[in-house]
């Protein structure tokens, strides 16, 4: 085959800048990160990018064709749920269920395709709507709560195993990417896509069936999303309605970073793969260097701006004749642009350098202390921040190095990524508040096999995947505690409502299950009238509570089961002046003090969160030193004294009820 013509239109946009960035990343992280330049790490980097990679690869032709598809992440979630339902509830073999789930993706893609190609609606809006629709359907059918798990090992191997030394999903990704590359850059269909991207009317005048071609792009993107959905399930071992939340933006970022023009016509698969690598390496490198994960987001944003700016400046310099129209302004602004770019690059450089400096200054001196890595369910949650304060206290007492990192809260796969990173980096103990039991347990087992001690806290993994579980309270205890308190406040009868965090959060759903069980079992005169999600936002809890109280005037009590919802609900009751309604919930004392004192909130239930972090670190240190075995019956933890261990569960003690009388004694 002859070499492809190196021409302005059909070539992939100059990947030079990106390649340099990638090399720079590898060089920097090779220096500052531990175990960055290892084969195992390379394999893991690739495994973690496969789902987003599949979406990004499928999005590339869509964007080249002048469109966009925001619905891919939601369609991934819908396909995952459909797959789980078909397999578990319909009893279909895994293979058949997978094929049918891909059919769901095809249907979703067809819907987008019909709206965009046939009705000629703007794709940004169509897929914004279908993003909502697909995610909503997934939540609707599962009630948000249903989680499909327990897939056969043979299937899970697709997402968790190795094939000839590389993660199994990598060959799948490579095959799909290669297929897309052939499709876009080597077939007449791909050529038509470029023509359509530059000028849909021009392409139509050339006899290209534009509608059909555009339709196929969205169909393919739906298919890829559902394949990604199946791979996702295999990788995490669970299918839930929130799978793939926010993946669309990550995928679009990779595509655009890879040089594909958002206006259509220019770009290519190779660039997308490169863009994907740049992001994945950045993420992984920062993790191994124990730099904050937020930095990855910030740097991705900066990189995006810098690369498109450089690209723009170069294309202006290279082809001034094509920009007659703006040339006047350009001449004026040239120097400003240069200054601006230098400023951006300098800023990025300073951030990187200062972190590097910070890193080197924090490098542990010999002898190396015990390193304990602690993983909350999500970062940026006041509950876990309180845990961290306790953990920091214990780490200082014991002289251990504490790594603290967590996912950003939207992506259930986030925890896997971090644990994998820590394994590569090499730590002594990993302490995890497990978000997703089935998905994370295999990874934890792998860590144990490598000689890393594993503790779970806050929420448990499968028992054989950890040494100890620091148990603050059982879901049953929490559920019963909340329901009993509610019954006491309500005097044993009446209506109440629940404000929850999100319909898909597994711990909240677990608690709700026990609340409802207790209700059915003990309180026949009490009725739960409605359950509303607040997306973990105070303001939404406020608005939802107001709506609930307006629609259900007989509600006597609002039970808030996530920490932002408690003050939000209390504020709503206060604003409405409903002295007859009380709020109870699970939350932190500091946020609720004014409401408890004002008598709006009756009781806030929680264990001592700081102590949870403190106890975990103490237990972890002793496990690392070999002083504490899973079979032990008690442990001595600093200022907390002795704590009982029951069948591998370190018990923190009973949940605590904060009321008007005692709440001022606590500060967290």
């Amino acid at each position: 085959m002859a070499t492809p013509p190196n021409t302005a239109g059909v070539r992939t946009s100059q990947p030079g800048v990106l390649l340099l960035v990638l090399l720079a990343e590898v060089a920097v992280f090779g220096l500052i990160s531990r175990n960055f330049l290892t084969l195992g790490n390379a394999a893991e980097v690739s495994r973690l990018s496969v789902e987003i990679g599949l979406l990004a690869v499928a999005l590339t032709p869509v964007i080249v064709g002048g469109g966009i598809d925001l619905s891919v992440g939601a369609l991934l979630g819908l396909s995952a749920v459909a797959f789980g339902w078909l397999w578990r509830n319909q009893g279909l073999p895994v293979g058949v269920a997978a094929v049918l789930a891909v059919g769901v993706g095809a249907l979703g893609g067809t819907l987008n395709g019909l709206f965009v190609a046939r009705l000629r609606l703007p794709p940004l809006i169509v897929t914004l709507g279908s993003l909502s629709l697909f995610r909503g359907l997934a939540k609707g059918f599962t009630g948000g709560t249903e989680t499909y798990t327990g897939f056969p090992a043979g299937f899970l191997a697709v997402g968790q195993g190795y094939f000839a030394g590389v993660p199994v999903q990598l060959p799948i990704f490579v095959a799909v990417a290669a297929g897309y590359w052939l499709f876009l850059h080597r077939t007449i269909y791909g050529r038509a896509v470029f023509a359509i991207g530059f000028s849909p009317e021009g392409a139509r005048h050339a006899g290209i069936p534009v509608e059909r071609r555009v339709f196929v792009l969205y169909l393919l993107s739906g298919l890829a999303a559902s394949v990604a959905g199946v791979v996702y399930v295999a990788h995490l071992g669970q299918a839930k309605a929130d799978a793939g939340t926010g993946y669309e933006l990550a995928a679009i970022t990779a595509v655009v970073l890879g040089g594909t023009s958002i206006f259509g016509g220019r770009g290519g698969i190779a660039g997308t793969v490169l863009g994907l690598l740049v992001i994945a390496v950045l993420d992984n490198g920062l993790l191994l260097a124990d730099l904050p994960r937020e930095l990855a987001g910030v740097l991705t944003g900066v990189l995006l701006l810098v690369t498109i700016t450089i690209d723009r400046l170069r294309s202006r310099a290279a082809a001034p004749t094509l920009s007659h129209q703006t040339e006047g302004e350009f001449e004026m602004k040239n120097s400003q642009l240069a200054v601006l770019c230098v400023a951006i690059l300098a800023a990025a450089g300073i951030v990187a350098a200062s972190n590097w400096y910070l890193m080197s200054s924090l490098r542990p001196p010999a002898p190396k202390p015990v390193t304990i890595a602690m993983l909350p369910k999500s970062k940026g949650n006041p509950y876990f921040l309180a845990c961290r304060r306790g953990a920091d206290e214990a780490a200082a007492e014991l002289g251990v190095e504490l790594l603290w990192d967590g996912p950003d809260g939207t992506d259930p796969a986030g925890q896997n990524r971090i644990v994998e990173g820590w394994m590569t980096r090499g730590v002594d103990v990993i302490c995890v508040a497990v978000e997703n039991r089935e998905g994370l347990s295999p990874v934890l087992r792998k860590a144990r096999a490598k000689g890393i001690k594993v503790l779970t806290w806050d929420a448990d993994a499968e028992p054989d995947a950890r040494d100890l579980f620091v148990n603050q309270a059982t879901p049953e205890g929490i559920g019963h505690g909340l329901m009993d308190t509610a019954a006491r406040v309500m005097g044993g009868k009446g209506e109440f409502a629940i404000i929850t965090g999100s319909l898909t959060a597994s711990n909240l759903n677990e608690w709700r299950k026990h609340i409802e069980a207790r209700l059915a079992e003990k309180y026949p005169d009490i009725k739960l009238v409605v359950t509303r999600p607040c997306d973990d936002q105070q303001k939404k809890a406020l608005d939802e509570t107001k709506a609930v109280l307006a629609a259900h005037p007989n509600v006597k009590l609002v039970m808030a089961v996530c920490s932002p919802a408690v003050p939000g609900a209390a504020e709503a009751v206060k604003q409405l002046g409903r002295g007859d309604v009380k709020v109870i919930g699970l939350g932190l004392p500091n946020e609720n003090k004014p409401f408890v004192h004002a008598g709006v909130t009756d009781t806030v239930i929680l264990w001592n969160t700081m102590d949870l972090g403190y106890l975990t670190i103490h237990a972890a240190k002793q496990v690392a030193d070999g002083k504490l075995k899973p079979t032990a019956s008690e442990v001595t933890a600093g200022r907390l004294g002795r704590k009982v261990i029951d069948k591998g569960n370190v018990l923190l003690g009973q949940p605590f009820a904060f009321t008007k009388e005692n709440i001022d004694q606590f500060d967290f």
Binding site: G136, P292, E294, Q325, L337, K379, R532, K539, A550, P567
Partner: protein, 291 residues
């Protein structure tokens, strides 16, 4: 087309529910006004939710260190304007696609904010909630400010040369340049204004609660874009009205309440919302085509 809902639910507009809804809508409406200008100018702003969160944090921190609230609010609005101006600089002067620029600033702002604040609620705010007024007065101040901003924006869009320049620029940028309208300044301006309005929206939301949540505004960009589009703003630029946006905000905002009133399961809310967006866009375009 836009008045479909809510009729079926008796008592929906009754009692204090309307006022409750109004004060809840005020911040979204103010942010959506900014987004409408951006869309009419044929741009898009993904970063508005992140700007919103940043401004909420700014106003809260300033109040906590003792600034008077009006001054802190002004600072938040200026912060928003500055953040918007950064977007504007990249889009207008470097001629970069707005969707990419604002996607990038969205990441930078969102992650930067989390890095800085770690998601902790900002507490101990003296004379903050309801501007330190009584609740009733505070509610009217919030609704009043949002109403005034809306009226001013609607008036400006229709009857001020600058407003018409936004429509002209969105309709055909090159023609605007030839007509001496300075489309670069217009583009820059709409981003700065959208940022300032995001800042104001953040203030209006922050004062409704005793604490400030640095995660506030998550997902707001999609809500306000959807509201503007359901209200008839065309992403191809040049078309869209603020009254339409108001209806869009009301329609999408009432879905949640309506579900509660109609006693439907909460889990279907998002699907209904998506269906309404698709229907609204499809019917709007089909109607225009048949005209």
């Amino acid at each position: 087309m836009l008045i479909v809902l809510a009729v079926a639910t008796p008592g929906f507009f009754g009692s204090g529910n309307l006022r409750v809804l109004l004060v809840g809508f005020a911040p979204t409406l103010v942010a959506a006004v900014g987004m409408t200008f951006v869309i009419v100018a044929r741009q898009i702003d993904i970063s508005v939710g992140a700007q919103f969160a940043a401004c909420a944090v700014v106003v809260a921190l300033l109040v906590r260190v003792g600034w008077p609230l009006p001054l802190a609010a002004l600072a938040a609005i200026l912060t928003g304007a500055a953040l918007g101006a950064i977007n504007g600089l990249f889009v207008a002067h470097l001629r970069l696609p707005s969707i990419v620029v604002t996607l990038a600033t969205f990441f930078v702002l969102k992650e930067g904010l989390r890095w800085w604040r770690q998601g902790e609620l900002i507490r101990d705010l003296p004379a903050f909630q309801w501007f330190g007024l009584s609740q009733t007065a505070g509610v009217w101040v919030v609704v009043g400010i949002a109403g005034a901003v809306f009226a001013a924006a609607a008036g400006a869009a229709r009857n001020l040369a600058a407003g018409r320049a936004v429509y002209a620029t969105g309709s055909d940028e090159e023609a605007a340049r030839l007509a001496g309208l300075r489309p670069n300044a217009v583009t820059f301006g709409v981003f700065a204004v959208a940022g300032a309005l995001a800042g104001l929206a953040a203030v209006l939301e922050a004062v409704q609660l005793p604490f400030v949540d640095p995660k506030a505004g998550t997902g707001m960009e999609m809500r306000v874009i959807a509201a503007a589009v359901v209200g008839g703003a065309a992403v191809s630029g040049g078309r869209g009205t603020l009254v339409g946006t108001l209806l869009g905000v009301l329609l999408l905002g009432t879905i949640g309440s309506a579900i509660v009133f109609l006693r439907l399961e909460a889990q279907w809310e998002e699907a209904i919302q998506g269906g309404i967006i698709l229907l609204a866009v499809a019917s709007d375009v089909t109607a225009r085509r048949n005209r």
